[in-house]
Amino acid sequence: MTEIIDKHVLSNKMVILGEPMEQVQSAAFNFMLPAGAALMPEKCCGAANVMDDWIFRGAGDKDSKQLGDALDGLGVQRSSGVGTSHLVIGGALEASNLSAALGLYGDVILRPRLQEEHFGPARQLAIDGIKGLDDDPRHKVMLKLREQFYPTPLGRSTAGEIADLEKLTAEQTRAIVRERFNLSKTIFSMAGKYDFDAVCRQFEGLFAPAAVLRQQDAGAVQIGKRGSKYTHIHNDGAQVHIGLMTETVRANDKDYYNARVAVSVLSGGMSARLFTEVREKRGLCYAVGAQYNALKEAAGVAAYAGTTPDKAQQTLDLIIAEFRRLAEGISEEEIQRAKVGLKSSLILQSESSSSRAGAIGSDYYILGRVRSLDEIKEKIEATTVDSVLGYLRNKPFKEFIVVTIGPKEVKV
């Protein structure tokens, strides 16, 4: 299975990527705008979330209602989100409507109306989104964990900060849109059924003339300090929600695939160690698991567990012990299960146009190129018990950053 990756760089340096999929009738696409949480100016945490809403409230010759109706009329399944590095806006739809949808997104990016009257509701929804997290401790604990784990501003909450948002003005936000919607640093990715040349021609017409106006540097982030080792947020809920994270290698490291396999031994399938030791043998949790989590600048392994207060300490201690026990030895069968799990999930995801559009865009941003599925499979295949243990022993999990939300604190 050798897949093709289409790539073209527009005259304004915006990168266009595509992965054709013969078996589908849909197309999925993402614009990765260099306007993520870490790139917001100081004291404007959450501005990206306001922008994400505000830019859709009218653009080009369409007001808010007309724009919404036009997107709905094309059957666009909209998706958008704020990450550390990018504000990603995109969607999935029947391929025959792709060109029309891209035209609308061109307006949203280049000619958003950003009217005063719409700023208030856009900002209010961003504030309400943060307040809503108080009623979703599972989600909130992981956001707080990233905040503590990644050095500032990489860890900044992708939901925003209420205090900053309350002071944010329409004028400031317009200035951020002007500055950060830098097309020369924007990555466009799509997957599914499309005509690559036609999309490139359309984009050259849509975006290239705007290049002159958008040449400011989106700015590199200045990396600061990491947060505290342990944070507890009191909440009289039924469970203690535990998040913990420890440093590991980045995607461009020679040990990257060893790290991925190690995390899969820890928490790949239901036979992996965390599920077996914490849930199957002891019944401490319903939800427990760990994942590799990477930014371009740093990476970690993040684990979550939710458990009733009396079991919280035992659960945390056990999870940390399992992280440490990895370096003591891994069986051949465990490695094989981890490898087959990683390879299989890669192929299963490759059937979804949305998954592929997301994956190729993020590869390009993090690595500067798109890895083929064959390359990833080969590199997973090349890992061995010795290579994974070698990595774990050379780069042992040392420090754990822990955050808990619930009625009881734990000892770290």
Binding site: M1, E22, Q23, Q25, S26, R57, G68, D69, L71, D72, G73, G75, Q77, R78, E94, P121, A122, L125, D128, K131, G132, D135, D136, R138, N235, D236, G237, A238, Q239, H241, G268, G269, M270, S271, T276, R279, E280, R282, G283, L284, C285, A287, G306, T307, T308, E333, R337, V340, G341, L342, K343, S344, S345, I347, L348, S350, E351, S352, S353, S354
Partner: protein
């Protein structure tokens, strides 16, 4: 949008178990599901939560397989697998590379006759209680559960899927074995396959594995309800927003008008572009406002979920009341319907591109309708819905007749 090369087959084994499959030679993966027609509506108060608890226990193995061996055998194949339980179905599924489908199907077949050992039951009880605790910390789920119970009252669809801490604590493995033997009868199970597989081969595997299961009569009593129409509220000190759930009656899963109902749900409460969206979310009166049609066996409902600040709750409910009243008076417009159709059709196409997405529709259609429906048939049915169809639905099922449950912060003083 015609899909090439989809081939449907079915076989009913002599003991009543149905095997269905839709082959798609161009898919990279395959999906398998065992759809058991049983859920919390088939329980009584003493054993409330047993269907879901039993779903967990199926993973604990058989007379020959330990829980750890079950997990290892799945993981060796790289399968993505799990199960879910609703008010009326328990579904065990796996998405898998084609070369492992037979192996994983054989494993599921073994597991469908579980050992239900006391020691596993006692450990898993803790896990179930943790799951109940987890959902207590998610008011967006909790409010739906409470509202469903208020709406259905004594109707069995009001039974909680998870059960209560008390019902789980008091449940015995013996009670679970009794429930299993009644409900996991062959005539109550559909084995479904989608994606890249060979029908004759997989059907032989199913016949070989399940054909020997003892035949047993099992069924379910079906009745419709229009809901209690009651209103209730739960104030919780640690909750920060107002979580509002409204449930009103709708057509059953077997009703031809289900496509119209689904489009109405979209017109009123889709994430973007719906009446809720423009009146509530766009104006920032509520952060989330959604309505969805939920088809069930012999009955059906519209669920609305709205999250807002306590200050806005009164105003939000007034607006919802006005939206429902306007719908009752003037109905929906051509332009609304056309947008909703585009969205529903696009979602249908995207979902069905994955064998796993296709499996869910395939299995559900068989469970509820005893019928195979191609993607093209569903597309045509959506396209055929008219404004008149939707308006007569609104006329018959007035959205204003809702049952309401709210979870919100405790009032000061």
């Amino acid at each position: 949008m015609t899909k090439q090369g989809l081939n449907f087959n079915q076989r009913i084994l002599s003991n009543g178990l149905t095997v269905i499959g839709e082959e798609n030679g161009s898919a990279k993966s395959a999906a398998v599901g065992f759809f058991v027609r049983t859920g919390s509506r088939d329980e009584n108060k003493q054993i409330n939560g047993v269907s879901h608890f039993l779903e967990h226990m199926v993973f604990k193995g058989t007379e020959k397989l330990s829980p750890f061996e079950v997990n290892e055998r799945f993981d060796k194949t790289g399968a993505q697998y799990n199960a879910f339980t609703s008010e009326e179905n328990t579904v065990f599924w796996a998405a898998i590379l084609p070369e492992y489908l037979v192996e994983v199907t054989r494993l599921w077949i073994e597991m469908m006759r579980p050992a239900l050992r006391d020691e596993d039951f006692n450990i898993e009880k803790h896990v179930i209680k943790e799951e109940i605790a987890m959902y207590k910390d998610m008011p967006n789920y909790d409010v739906m559960d409470r509202c469903r119970s208020l709406y259905f009252g004594e109707h069995p669809c009001g039974n909680s899927v998870l059960g209560s801490e008390e019902s789980i604590e008091n449940m015995t493995a013996q009670q679970m074995r009794g429930y299993f033997s009644n409900r996991y009868a062959p005539n109550n199970i559909v084995a479904a396959f989608a994606g890249n597989f060979k029908w004759e081969e997989i059907c032989a595997v199913a016949e070989d594995g399940c054909g020997g299961w003892e035949e047993k009569k099992t069924d379910r009593r079906i009745s419709d309800t229009r809901g209690s129409g009651k209103k209730d509220k739960f104030e919780k000190p640690n909750v920060s927003c107002e979580h509002i759930c409204l449930i009103s009656p709708a057509v059953a899963a077997q009703d031809e008008r289900r496509f119209a109902a689904s489009l109405l749900g979209d017109i009123v409460g889709d994430d973007f572009g719906s009446r809720f969206f423009w009146e509530l979310v766009d104006k920032a009166l509520s952060e989330t406002a959604a309505m969805q049609y939920s088809p069930m066996d012999g009955t059906g409902t519209f669920y609305s979920y709205i999250r807002c600040s306590s200050d806005n709750a009164g105003k939000v409910l007034d607006i919802v009341g006005r939206i429902f009243a306007e719908l009752a008076k003037d109905g929906v417009t051509e332009s609304e319907l056309s947008k909703a159709k585009n969205k529903v059709l696009s979602a249908l196409v995207i979902k069905n591109e994955l064998p796993m997405g296709r499996l869910v529709d395939l299995g559900s259609n068989w469970i509820y309708l005893r019928q195979y429906r191609s993607i093209e048939q569903d597309v045509a049915a959506v396209k055929a819905v008219t404004v008149k169809d939707i308006n007569s639905l609104i006329n018959e099922f007035d959205l204003r007749g809702f049952t309401q449950y709210t979870i919100g912060p405790a009032k000061q003083g």
